[in-house]
Amino acid sequence: MGFAASLIGLLKPVRVTVSHLFRKPTTVMYPHAHRPPTDRFRGGTFGLTTDPETGLENCIGCRLCEMICPSKIITVTLDRRPDRGYAGIFTLQYEACMQCELCVQVCPTDAIVMSREFGEPAYSRADFFLDKEKLHANGKKMGRVWGSGSTLQAMHGKKERPAPAAAPAAPAAKKEGA
């Protein structure tokens, strides 16, 4: 490489960096501003849902989520009652979760769901230990989410192209363009 070419080459990185002075910064000021999560986003914490009509919890204590969990962080016991099963203990050690959504996928009653909001930071391990109360509180707070056992299983069970049919299950799938 000639001397002049080297000098010109040296100017090229400078041109790139200086050009960034005239652009908007890429980063956002995180605690003040959030990047909006998409509909399917599952980076957040967990919640247990309840039936909106009867107010009963949806979990039937079948322990399928406990068995499929790769990190083995869910503990469920069956509380057998005359009408159906309920969860006796339901604990989730959120700090060790790897967000694979398998527990949500296997749930036959859409009881366990994942939040669309980012998981809140915490000061102690105990804060990440989600017992049934916390999970139900989360479930109330997060409202309706896209990913649940029935949507995921419906996606797999479809024999035809599922994208148009899945639209009602994912109400906002279209509007998220950017």
Binding site: T50, G55, L56, E57, K72, I73, T75, T77, D79, R81, P82, D83, Y86, A87, G88, I89, T91, Q93, E95, R125, A126, F129, D131, K132, E133, H136
Partner: protein
């Protein structure tokens, strides 16, 4: 023995030749001269059939694949190292040695690769205990009762009947 003898059962299975430990180096050399120059990996397995080592070679030109399968004595698993033929076997054999206790004769330095030097036992053996030393976390003291008492809050007491 050649690639033609190799048998495959499952669609994902590879053409395999069984070879006695004593013939391994000569056979590997022959495959090398036939063009199987691309060393892929060495796998040590312990299954119901006992211990075995599989060396996986590939021919970069034709794409041909061959697995050299060496069945080993369960009590004194020992076979010649492939390192003199394929230098890539160095690390893979060290790994098989430390994980399964398979002795590779002629290897330039069989020492621990992934595990700490003072590790005891061969972790990938089926006999190696998987007892987890750390119990699942349970928050202490403050509210042990809340976690144990099966009191599903959203259910009114009378409704269960």
């Amino acid at each position: 023995m050649s690639a033609a003898d190799a048998s495959a059962t499952a669609p994902g299975a590879l053409p395999t030749v069984e070879v006695a430990p004593g013939d391994l180096l000569a056979l590997a050399q022959r495959y090398l001269s036939e063009g199987f120059r691309w060393y892929i990996c060495t796998t040590g397995i312990e299954s119901a059939e006992g211990l075995e080592v599989q060396h996986f070679l590939r021919n970069p030109e034709s794409g041909g694949e061959i697995v050299l399968r060496v069945k080993l004595d369960a009590l004194a698993p020992k076979l010649p190292s492939l390192y003199p033929v394929f230098p890539g076997a160095d690390w893979s054999e060290r790994e098989a040695w430390e994980m399964l206790g398979i002795e590779f004769e002629g290897h330039p330095g069989l020492r621990r690769l992934l595990l700490p030097a003072q590790w005891d036992g061969f972790p990938l053996r089926k006999s190696y205990p998987i007892a987890t030393p750390c119990l699942p976390y349970r928050p202490a003291a403050e509210k042990p009762a809340a976690a144990v008492v099966p009191a599903p809050s959203p259910i009114p007491a009378g409704e269960a009947t």
